[in-house]
């Protein structure tokens, strides 16, 4: 059993939101940030890949490394290794030739590509720095997917083990202090009630604990179908096909589409709740449920609906 302790997700200062690709990680990260900001807390939300879906979530123009206020109290940015390196050098190395950083960044990028943990530590360092300096009340990172998050959050440990001397090595100490403090840092794992996302979540929970020392804080089950029926009613849904003639006579032949819709939704719900039970058997971390929205909207509308659902769950 993996058990959760410590403050709720909005009460920490640095929260990584991860999950298998396609589960709605970005919407959840945006919603958490929106919720935090709407409660008057100065909040930063950052997108790790350059896909631009976080900007879409706020209906904002493309994000840059320099944060921009997209809503009152809510600042958004996109991570970029070159800019992170520039900032790092300015803050810690006091490099004088900032104008010429292009070629340097490219070569650095190359080493970073090959040397484990170097690129990750630049980005993770940025978040730890903002958290340590208390520049924001909450930093929400729309982080890498389950396959890559361990390499990201675990970078300071890798660097500490592999690099014996140098500035980066020295800085792993304060980064680890931030990351390993459960009142400061947490990981929210987003999943949908489906087989692979749940399986990856279980694998991630084990790896996070073992390889990074950063604790998973909360599970967020996204797109959960509502429980409309109890078992007895559900069995009736299953059998409605046997009364199809009656139903067609009464409501027209397109009642078949209505039955199909009910059947698919109900079957998927039961399968989904089976997958979520697997999670519950493995961990007693708090699990926040975000319902399937059935909305045609995208962007800010989705963010505010997900935020509402999370707010209810967090009460």
């Amino acid at each position: 059993m993996i058990s959760g302790a410590g403050p709720s997700i909005l009460e920490r200062r640095l929260v990584f939101v991860t999950g298998k690709g396609g589960v709605g990680k970005t919407s959840v990260a945006a919603a958490l940030a929106h919720l935090s900001a709407s409660r008057g807390r100065r909040t930063l939300v950052c997108e790790m890949d350059a896909k631009g879906s976080l900007a879409d979530a706020f209906d904002a123009p493309p994000l840059a490394f320099a944060e921009r206020e997209v809503e009152p109290n809510l600042f958004a940015m996109a991570m970029n290794t070159e800019d992170a390196l520039r900032e790092y050098l300015r803050l810690f190395v006091k490099v004088p030739f900032l104008g010429k950083i292009g070629p340097l960044a490219r070569t650095f990028d190359f080493v970073a590509d090959a040397a484990p943990g170097v690129k990750e530590i630049l980005t993770i360092g940025k978040f730890c720095w903002e958290a340590k300096e208390h520049n924001y009340d909450l930093i929400v990172v729309d982080a890498e997917a389950t396959g890559h998050i361990v390499a990201q959050i675990g970078a300071p440990l890798v660097i500490r083990d592999m690099v014996q001397v140098g500035l980066v090595r020295d800085q792993t100490d304060w980064m680890l202090e931030v990351l390993h403090d459960p009142t400061m840092t947490g990981v929210a794992v987003v999943t949908t009630p489906e087989e692979m996302p749940v399986t990856e979540t279980l694998g991630l929970l084990d790896r996070l604990a073992a390889e990074t020392g950063v604790e998973a804080t909360t599970l967020i089950a996204n797109r959960v179908l509502p429980a409309l029926f109890d078992r007895r009613q559900s069995a009736i849904v299953d059998r409605l096909g046997d009364a199809e003639d009656l139903l067609v006579d009464a409501a027209g032949k397109n009642v078949r589409a209505v039955l199909d819709a009910a059947h698919i939704t109900e079957a998927r719900r039961w399968i989904g709740s089976g997958h979520l039970s697997r999670l519950r058997e493995h961990t007693d971390l708090p699990m926040l449920m975000v319902p399937e929205l059935f909305t045609r909207a995208t962007g800010p509308r989705v963010v505010s609906l997900v935020a509402e659902a999370l707010a209810e769950e967090l009460e």
Binding site: A145, G166, V168, M196, N254, V258, A262
Partner: protein, 389 residues
Amino acid sequence: MARRTERPDLLALLAAKEMVLVVGAGGVGKTTTAAAMATAAATEIGGRVLVVTVDPAKRLADALGVGEIRNEATRVPDSAFAEVGVEPSGELWAAMLDTRQGWDELIRHHAPDDAVRDAVLANPLYQNLTGRFVHSHDYLAMEKLHELHATGEWDLIIVDTPPSRNALDVLDAPRQMKEFFGSRLLRWLTVPYRSRLFTVASRPFYQVADRVLGSRFLQDIAEFFILFQAMERGFVDHANEVERLLGDHRTTFVVVSTLEAAPSHEAMFLSRELLRRDMHLGAIIANRVMPTSFMARASATSARKLARLAGDGLAAEVAEELDVDEGATEAVLTEIGERFHQVAVVATREAERRAELADLSPLLVAAPMLDHDINDVHDLLQLAGHLVP
């Protein structure tokens, strides 16, 4: 053999090509779609068909017989088909790609001698790197395809590509591998330490890198790269061949997507990129699609009637017919009637995206949302039946 049809279909595509790369955003069902296409090809077209998957769900992996075995092709036994009353005209094989083992094999293959091979395999940086090195999953999947194709053992190879941060990484992987070996920094890092120190051009970088990373770490990296450089020729030649294979007329790409906003968006982007790069976009598969009947106005009307009539005697009739509780039946009929519009809204949205995707590809195949997971050969055949009607 390939059927002659007026309109292109997926089976004709699978019959015409030797290599299929299945690409798309995470979570859209790439693995099951790849496996279902392979199943369709093995049963309908024949020949030796291999599906290479990266990370299948456990039960599917077990069904394909690759639950335990990695990096080695395993035949799905005819008995698995016989159980569901199907006699495939060809053979279905499956293999699971293991990144770590795959890299070790590459090193063994390219190392000029045993000493270099052992030194690389034992190098702590290598141990740490294989998981993240230059988009290594993507490159390895491409490399594996090349290797398998070269064996001449397969009529059709379908590769399920790994989940990437960016779907384009798969296409860019060979070029990035070449750039890695061609880069000036690699050359700089691998020249002897002393002469490097006095290269004026590299001095600012070295000073900063030394301060930040420590010269000891840079030395470790350099040593590792020197070992790696011994294998440059082999790697670069291979990457060239892999790159050629991606653009080969025997290769096609199948883009898989659901009709949700983000995956569709990525599928459109990916499809355009494939076309821009002159690569063959064979088909787009829209997965987990809702039936078009959900959008019909008549269906909405039926739903409203159902909800209205439920308490008006209909529930009683249905309950009697099914021999179930009337109150529960009334609740069920009312609820599904009232809830139908939710599904209809989503179906309408999906239809718009489907039309946009159809504009991009010569062939758009829709697979319906199923009421169960894909766990065994029976399920694969069912999905295959939707892909290849």
